[in-house]
Symmetry: C2
Subunit: 471 residues, 2 copies
């Protein structure tokens, strides 16, 4: 065992045995170095390990703190969507939440915008600004169809974190993850086909299914282990399902990550029925525990997984930069990408590639992972405090979104309407179903986590629910 | 008549009567002011008028010069495409020209990339760089679905140039003109439908037709007056055509602009047969004569025209910023835009909006229009000098692309292949047809216009043709 590992173990025990309480300050690096007779670097390395394991967090200029630990709340029930292929509706509700105006105008607990205010994003803007001043004007040119070599190289390297060996040439850069999903869907289906999805499911994927005249088969999902493989198998025996679209890691909206073993099972099932898997990994790098779980793509042996992702949640959505590793569907995906947008923004690609190469991405991740985990804990506590008893709350393992399930009669679409003069919004559950199910659920973000405005909003919401539904 | 108009008239006569030869220096502003006893501003205004009329051009630091005037060359014949709806092929050829690598690596007479080296683009980069450093991080946020208010306002204002009164709310910002075309096509058709196009036709539009399982009906086109309205009428009587996709101003690849009267006729015909018009105006602001011709959209009374455009040719393609004015198809286009890319890059939108607001766009246009017209004249002269006799050349009224038609036996796909170790490329005509017609044609750009490398390339090409096809 290395020195720093021994020290990390010692500190872990102190926390786990309750000698240091959640939120309390950890011993300073200097103190530990003196006390244990080890170098500063060793102590730093030990803390890094604990940070990656989600046990401590660093706060700028004040050192390390033991994590606030919420206990698992009452989880939502396993979802029970319609048991046959159906057409997607709900576009009006989606349009409503997207809103006509820019999202920034409104304080929102409904959006899935990451925290953009942190110091670790600043260097990205600086690089962007520098790239814009390159004298060779490269940022203004048409990019190649696949995306810049620089960015593909960096994205391939990031694949290591999820056990995925990618070659830069296997990747195609897209205009956000949405374009990746759209191109993937079009590559593996014909109009009229059936696509299975995890339910509740990200509405962008479902609307893309609708736009391509596909039918959706919603599969029940467990709030901790994810998509029910058993239910999927049953569905595939009954219906000619062509593909599965799924967000197995830091799921939107539930927040779970499917265990690696279940991911492998899913792949085996897909092989058995010979269907394609569209894997949305957009929040995957935001798992609180590090190393992060693998992608299904990591187990893929015959190119049937189309891995889709972007920097919209890990860095910033305004970049509009995503990617797809399309496996054996490469040629169709290239055609789809060409006809839909021809190329992606060159300048942003160059800036992000440089940011990753200089270590900025990993530095930023380290920071926001710890931050979002702390926010989750705070959010869960607040919800238990300010919302009526009996609610069920998902317990995210990454990202900044969670799902709240109320009693049957609670109508979150109504609640949202009523909120319209309160200057904030939630995302009603109906968005995440093809048929307007989950009316008694809502998705909340905890991006702004521990600020007073968020707690205030939750109080308002809690009061509103208690008033409207006095048990 | 205003003072400057009188002076402009006088100078125009001097040029037209041959007192000043093409390429010759015009009298200096100071000299004219002294000679005619008018203010500096008056002389400047007179020169501006002549510049807009395409009679003189300004060269940085050396004053005004009379334009080199080429005479109209032997024009290509009216095109004669297949006379029934067909499926689009040619993707392999398109992929080939797009290439795997970034286009910048290769000197190319085939690409449609504008000149990015000019001084008038520099301020855009500066603004971009500044926007990236905004402390409110707005450039990193998700944009609203329609695009930023700032950019939509500016684009609506630019509509005035083409006689088009647009309200910012009618516009949707897209990821380049390609996404605008793609969303437009999907909004007005169902799989299996027939879409009429001008032939030869931009390959991106045709590949989008292919990707949506549509059939294409190629309509003959005159190299000066554009799409044959008579042939379109005949086609519509015979086939259930759903929409027309057309580039009527500064056409790619031919360079013509349809007269406003023919545009109006086209609209009337579309009304009579109740079809939608997808109008691609991407090169429209690059017409040499100013004010520029109107768009078909300018005559639209019942919202059947979907105007598509972008800044890819007027400013820079790396921006990936376009727009669509979808008329009555707005709601379908919004859905299509959401599912294909969700939003466009926020930062670039803010930078371009500011650039236009500060007058940078119009300043840049003024410069490149004059430059491209000069390059056209040079290019036509070089082609007549270095290519075998008997060729036919289109005579663009704007933009930087022209079309060369050779004798029947000349195979431009072959020529391009042979060029592969010469470090430059052309765009073979087959790209612009659904069925591989126009094999004996090529599209050339004259972006680099008057430099030695271009003339050298044309010599190489001319020799190659003469050798392969010794008459
Ligand atoms: C699960 C999931 N996939 C895809 C997307 C779309 O991502 P992008 O903004 O990169 O297009 C989102 C955005 O909310 C998402 O939550
Ligand atoms: C006529 C025409 N329309 C559309 C496009 C695509 O434009 P953008 O790069 O803005 O997507 C091009 C590009 O070559 C074009 O020539």
């Amino acid at each position: 065992m290395k020195l720093y590992e021994g020290l990390a173990d010692y500190l872990r025990q102190r926390i786990e045995q309750g000698f240091v309480a959640g939120g309390e300050r950890m011993p300073s690096i200097r103190a530990l170095s003196r006390e244990h007779g080890v170098s500063i670097t060793t102590v730093q390395e030990a803390y890094r390990q604990l940070e990656d394991a989600g046990l401590v967090e660093s706060r700028p200029k004040s050192g390390y703190f033991a994590r606030l630990r919420s206990t698992t709340p009452d989880l939502p029930q396993v979802s029970r969507p319609v048991r046959r292929p159906i057409e997607v509706s709900q576009w009006e509700d989606v349009l409503n939440i997207l809103g006509a105006e820019a999202p920034s105008k409104l304080f929102s607990l409904g959006h899935a915008m990451p925290d953009l205010a942190g110091a670790t994003l600043k260097p990205l803007l600086k690089l962007w600004s520098m790239q814009a001043r390159r004298s060779d004007m490269r940022g203004l040119e048409y990019d190649s169809l696949r995306g810049t070599e620089e960015l593909r190289t960096q994205v391939a390297r990031l694949g290591d974190h999820s056990g995925c060996q990618l070659h830069p040439d296997e990747l195609i850069i897209t205009t956000g993850c949405q374009e990746a999903l759209f191109c993937a869907l079009r590559a593996v289906t014909e109009p009229g086909d059936i696509v299975a999805v995890d339910s509740p499911c990200f509405y962008g994927a479902m609307q893309a299914i609708k736009a391509n005249d596909l039918k959706v088969m919603e599969i029940p999902t467990h709030p901790e282990s994810g998509l029910s493989i058993e239910a999927l198998e049953l569905a595939m025996e009954q219906w000619p399902i062509k593909a599965l679209a799924v967000t197995p890691t830091c799921n939107n909206p539930l927040g779970y990550s499917m265990p690696d073993s279940r991911k492998r099972e899913l792949l085996l099932l897909a092989q058995r029925f010979d269907i394609a898997i569209i894997e949305d990994d957009i929040y995957g790098d935001l798992t609180y525990a590090w190393p992060r779980p693998r992608t299904i793509k990591a187990f893929d042996t015959d190119g049937r997984v189309l891995l889709c992702s972007s920097f919209s949640k890990t860095l910033a959505p305004g970049l509009r930069l995503g990617w797809i590793a399309p496996g054996r569907y490469r040629s169709q995906v290239i055609h789809n990408k060409f006809v839909s947008t021809a190329a992606s923004s060159t300048l942003s690609q160059l800036a992000v590639a440089q940011f990753i190469a200089e270590g900025g991405y990993e530095r930023h991740l380290r920071k926001v992972r710890a931050q979002y985990q702390r926010y989750r804990d705070q959010m869960v506590s607040w919800l238990e405090e300010h919302f009526p008893p009996g609610i069920r709350i998902s317990y995210p393992q990454g990202g900044y979104l969670l799902w709240v399930e109320f009693a049957r009669e609670v109508d979150c679409v109504e609640l949202n309407r009523e909120l319209s003069d309160r200057q904030f919004r939630i995302a009603p559950g109906v968005l995440f179903s093809a048929t307007g199910k989950y009316r008694n659920c809502m998705r909340l973000n905890f991006v702004n986590g521990v600020d007073a405005q968020t707690e205030e909003a939750l109080c308002v919401l809690g009061d509103m629910i208690r008033q409207r539904y006095p048990d």
